[in-house]
């Protein structure tokens, strides 16, 4: 078979941005495999989901609608997806490379004896097979991988594809949504929403926004925190800021603090002394905002803004918020 499936990530039918990105990416893949884009819906709220995904070009949907599924973690999706793959043999299935998507994909793979690739940042097709690009060893290395045999199970990282609308009529097929007792073993007891200020730890964050002496006083770290929360980032601090007592040592980046290598590091009001650079120079992308055009930090940036941080950062935070509002 040549169809490209997308396991829809959704909450009671409200499909996520990454679901729309995957549908968009699946269109390009299906154009190569000669198949259709098929959305796989498991859970409740299909009516809502259908309306949302019709914009993103799914030709068909397999609908396993059930109220019961939401009370259990991952296993119902595993069982239903594995069953459908065995029955219909698609070219492959795209999953969101987020904890639940990866868990479902890898368990489906183990159950059906298939291969799986996680964390792909791009997927193309060559000789009918997927070519998945991903970064390894903390981002220092680019790897291209394929799977030896289909159906191909591929987890794609959020934002790897840009969601583009392409309205289509969704042909819908209702499929068996029943699950076995084994799929009811992990019970969802309670859903807890993030408490305010629950930022990722500096050591592991994909994005870090750090503040330095340029902030002038401790209260001004709120400017950094606002931007960090917009990007889901951790807040770091230079030694100067920590020594002045503006921010805790646990957040210090540098030779006497944490050595970090995030995907994105934004240094705000930090001149870039060697002691600081030692802690962050392996970051994949480095951005600096500083009013001193001669600051050494600008020698190592991908993008530098020479300007007043109190002007640039709040406006940037607002701009990002605005852009994130879209689909």
């Amino acid at each position: 078979m040549s169809d490209v499936w997308v396991l829809l990530e959704h909450s009671d039918g409200t499909t996520t941005k990454v679901a729309h990105q995957l549908l968009t990416g699946a269109r390009a893949i299906a154009a190569e495999t000669g198949g259709q884009v098929v959305a796989l819906f498991i859970g409740k709220g299909w009516a809502t989901a259908k309306e949302r995904i019709a914009k993103f070009g799914a030709a068909k949907a397999l609908v396993a609608e059930s109220d019961e599924i939401g009370g259990y973690v991952a296993s119902p999706q595993v069982e239903i997806t594995a069953r459908l793959i065995a029955e219909k043999q698609p070219w492959g299935v795209l999953f969101a490379s987020v904890p639940t998507g990866k868990e479902v994909a890898t368990r489906v793979a183990a159950r059906n004896g298939l291969g799986v690739l996680a964390d792909a940042v791009n997927v193309t097709v060559q000789d009918g097979k997927p070519v998945c690009e991903y970064s390894a060893f903390g981002g220092s290395t680019l790897v291209k991988k394929t799977l030896k045999q289909g159906p191909y199970l591929i987890c794609v990282k959020p934002n790897s594809f840009v969601a583009e609308e392409s309205p289509a009529e969704v042909a819908e097929e209702t499929v068996d949504a029943s699950i076995s007792e084994d799929s009811k073993r992990v019970v969802l007891k309670e859903r807890v929403e993030k408490e305010a200020g629950g930022r990722p730890a500096v050591e592991s964050a994909a994005i870090i926004i750090s503040g330095g002496r340029g902030l002038g006083e401790p209260a001004n770290f709120s400017v950094i925190e606002g931007l960090a929360d917009q990007l889901g980032a951790a807040v770091g601090a230079s030694r100067a800021a920590v020594d002045a007592g503006w921010y805790p040592h646990s957040n210090q980046v540098g030779q006497t603090g944490k050595t970090v290598s995030p995907q994105l590091y934004i240094a705000v009001g930090i001149s870039g002394a060697i002691q600081h650079r030692a802690g962050m120079q392996t970051s994949k992308t480095i951005v600096a905002i500083n009013k001193d055009a001669e600051a050494p930090i600008f020698q190592m940036v991908d993008f530098g803004v020479v300007g007043d941080l109190f002007d640039v950062v709040p406006k940037l935070t607002e701009e990002i918020s605005k852009r994130k509002g879209g689909a």
Binding site: A110, N159, V192, V305
Partner: protein, 263 residues
């Protein structure tokens, strides 16, 4: 209620080290880089030790890989306070992908009677997070993955599972496979006493045959994925500098961040 806990650990290249691909078989040349115990596995070990301290029991480290894996990963875990270790070591395992690793580990786990099998939910090298759920699937056990705050009661285990909006409180019966998330705890530093004691703790070495591993399912033969290309990602900086004298630098920076897929 003593708990018999297994913790699966691996070694990873030190994140600060240069990585090299073995050109002959496109696997990481692990001899060429400094290795450390996967930091997330350290958190799994810490979580296991805390469970042991609260409930009594025993912590067994399980690791698979060449000799150096023992020296680095197993010793570190034992010096933190684990009681013993099982080291699966066999040349036929070289080239195993995540699915094959999960299968091989499951064969070792089956040889024990564990109440809980803990793993780091990811490793700092491959970061695929595939092993814990695949391990659970191979063992036909429930899986709590990407969790912290692991607690046990009579026959069940509960934990906080990370979600993008916060966390879910999830529960299942034991035995279960638990994937411990990054940041679950602050792993303890091995004490001098712990380091000395680790030297005398039992480490059992198993071959693939000992673990009754089907050789067609592991190594290069069993790998379902294949590396096509592998190369260093150039760390050249773009050095785009904009001046905010027009007051629109934030728009240009937002454009840049969007291009780089950070927004």
């Amino acid at each position: 209620m003593p708990l018999n806990i297994a913790v699966c650990v691996k070694r990873v290249p030190d994140t600060a080290a240069e990585k090299k691909l073995d050109e002959s078989d496109k696997t990481l040349d692990r001899e060429s880089v400094e290795s450390i115990l996967n930091p997330v596995d350290e958190m799994a070990v810490e979580e296991a030790l805390k469970l042991k301290e609260a409930n009594e029991g025993e912590v067994t480290i399980i690791s698979m890989g060449p000799e150096a894996a023992q020296a680095q990963a197993i010793r570190k875990a034992l010096s933190m306070g684990a009681d013993k270790a099982v080291h699966l070591k066999d040349d036929i395992l070289h080239g195993s992908d995540a699915q094959a690793v999960a299968y091989a580990l499951s064969q070792v786990v089956k040889k024990g009677e564990y109440d809980l099998v803990l793993c780091g939910a990811e490793s700092t090298d491959a970061r695929t997070s595939l092993v814990p759920p695949a391990l659970a699937e191979n063992l036909n056990l429930p899986n709590l993955n990407f969790v912290k705050n692991v607690e046990v009661s009579d026959s069940s285990v509960t934990a906080h599972r990370e979600t993008d909006k916060g966390h879910d409180i999830v529960e299942c019966q034991r035995p279960a496979v638990i994937g411990v998330v990054w940041g679950a705890n602050e792993p303890r530093y091995p004490s001098f006493k712990g380091i000395m004691a680790a030297k005398n703790k039992p480490v059992e070495t198993l071959t693939a045959d000992d673990a009754e591993i089907d050789s067609s399912k592991v190594g290069f033969a069993g790998a379902k994925s294949e590396v096509l290309e592998f190369g260093a990602r150039p760390a050249e900086r773009k050095k785009i500098i904009v001046d905010n004298s027009n007051g629109d630098a934030h728009v240009k920076l937002a454009d840049f961040l969007q291009e780089q897929k950070f927004i």
